[in-house]
């Protein structure tokens, strides 16, 4: 796109701005839509996971960390219109976009062992950032009853609240984020060359 070449001077902010081409802006609603549909497909297929960040990770692969962070922001704001409790998790989704994007730029989505490692790093980012929100805002529970039950189990065995929420997060998220990362990579690779954004040449 013409606007990206014009801003090709050096400097952190202009490099950041150069990621936001018109195509990248249009990609954001697609990412938001995929974040949402991931949840729907999981319900249809009765899979025991959430897959609510595939869109963010996918945008990270196709357009870099900054665009992915905006995708995370907009996802939780837009879905927050129907369920305001999701607005509290805006920082989590943004951080997942940033981390996934930086990992992608450094080639961490190119080989299978690295994809697994990326999935684990993204999972840890999510768990570390969501734990304070879960504990301080929601008193240790989430809207998922099974997740709250698991936290209660850890509390009953004598752990304190932070440890319980953290352990619950890791158990629940580890499969979810690994599957999300692999789905995002497979889907991004399956995109026909013609429609693949430029950034994807660097990240896949």
């Amino acid at each position: 796109m013409a606007d990206s070449s014009r801003q090709a001077e050096r400097g952190f902010f202009s490099r950041m701005a150069s990621d936001f081409t018109t195509r990248a802006w249009v990609l954001i609603p697609v990412g938001v839509g995929i974040n949402f549909v991931g949840g729907t497909l999981v319900t249809v297929l009765k899979l025991p996971i959430f897959l609510d960040t595939i869109g963010t990770i996918l945008v990270a692969l196709l357009a870099g960390p900054w665009v992915a962070a905006v995708t995370g922001l907009i996802t939780n704001l837009v879905l927050g219109v129907a369920d305001p409790t999701l607005i509290a998790y805006v920082p989590v989704n943004m951080a997942i976009g940033l981390i996934a994007g930086f990992l992608a730029l450094r080639g961490w989505f190119k080989t299978y062992p690295k994809i697994v490692a990326s999935g684990l790093i993204i999972m840890l980012t999510g768990v570390i950032l969501s734990a304070p929100i879960v504990v301080l805002v929601f008193g240790g529970v989430t809207s998922s009853p099974s997740r709250s039950a698991l936290t209660a189990f850890f509390l009953a065995t004598g752990s304190e609240i932070w440890g319980s929420v953290f352990a619950t997060g890791i158990i629940v998220e580890v499969v979810d984020k690994l599957v999300s990362v692999f789905v995002a990579v497979f889907v991004a690779r399956a995109i026909p060359e013609r429609y693949r954004p430029q950034k994807a040449q660097q990240t896949l």
Partner: protein
């Protein structure tokens, strides 16, 4: 998605920025207040506001659906395991519910309830386009506003496409009740066409947007005007003042 209820109540006539400021102010206030009955009173007040706006039932119902699971979980967990538990409230067999924990659980619940009600009232009483115009007038980037609006419209469209693809794949022999591994594979069979289709439309959309001056700078005119009245300014400054007062009261006392 954006469940706007048209109307001409005083709530509808407020500037969207004012409604956001009130929602944000209430969020800060309820997290500063230490007793459950204080946010509970605010929640009742908000239901009153919803009644003025003409959709109390809708707000109450959706807020209940969203927060009652939280209420049950948080009262159970905090009632049993709150670190400051001293006074027993109820004993059920070997299990004791403690007064402090139940009180803290209720505090968490009412805080969340206030935020949920405030946001729902804002959403139900604001025409989405008017909201974006008001935010752009206050300095929000028009591109971010576009992305927000486009996402609002895109989510239901993606859901429709998703459903169509599921049916198309079922017609080609996809089994929704196969074993776990097969169903994971089915996930890819749905995601790939969904994304490929969406990316093709990205191409078209970005050309269409470019043709309409999307990446141009400069001033923009809007099709609708969103008035910012004196009432709005008074409410906004009162919110700021109340937040500051509550903060001072909490820190000093």
């Amino acid at each position: 998605m954006f469940d706007y209820r048209p109307g001409d109540s005083p709530v509808h006539l407020l500037n969207p920025v004012t409604k956001l400021a009130v929602a944000a102010g209430l969020t800060v206030i309820v997290f500063l207040l230490p007793n459950p009955w204080e946010p509970a009173l605010i929640a009742v007040g908000l239901l009153g506001v919803a009644a003025v706006a003409g959709f109390p039932g809708r707000v109450a119902k959706l807020a209940a659906v969203l927060t009652v699971p939280l209420l049950v979980a948080v009262v159970l967990i905090q009632g049993l395991f709150y670190p400051g538990n001293e006074i027993p409230l109820v004993e059920v067999g070997p299990v004791t519910f403690w007064a402090e924990g139940v009180s803290y659980g209720l505090l968490v619940f009412f805080r969340v309830l206030v935020v949920v009600c405030a946001v729902l009232i804002m959403v139900f009483s604001t025409y989405p386009k008017a909201m974006m115009v008001a935010f752009i007038d206050k300095g929000l980037s028009p591109k971010l506003a576009y992305v927000f609006m486009a996402s609002l419209q895109f989510v239901p469209e993606m859901q429709r496409r998703g459903r169509a693809i599921i049916e198309a794949q079922q017609a080609r022999g996809l089994d929704l009740k196969a074993n776990l591994w097969r169903r994971f594979q089915a996930l890819l069979a749905m995601m790939i066409p969904l994304l490929a289709g969406a990316l093709i439309s990205v191409e078209t959309r970005s050309l269409a947007l470019e043709a309409r001056g999307f990446s141009r700078g400069g001033l923009r005119n809007h099709l609708i005007e969103v008035p910012d009245r004196t009432t709005d300014r008074v409410i906004r400054w009162s919110v700021v003042a109340i937040v500051v007062l509550v903060a001072i009261w909490r820190i000093v006392l």
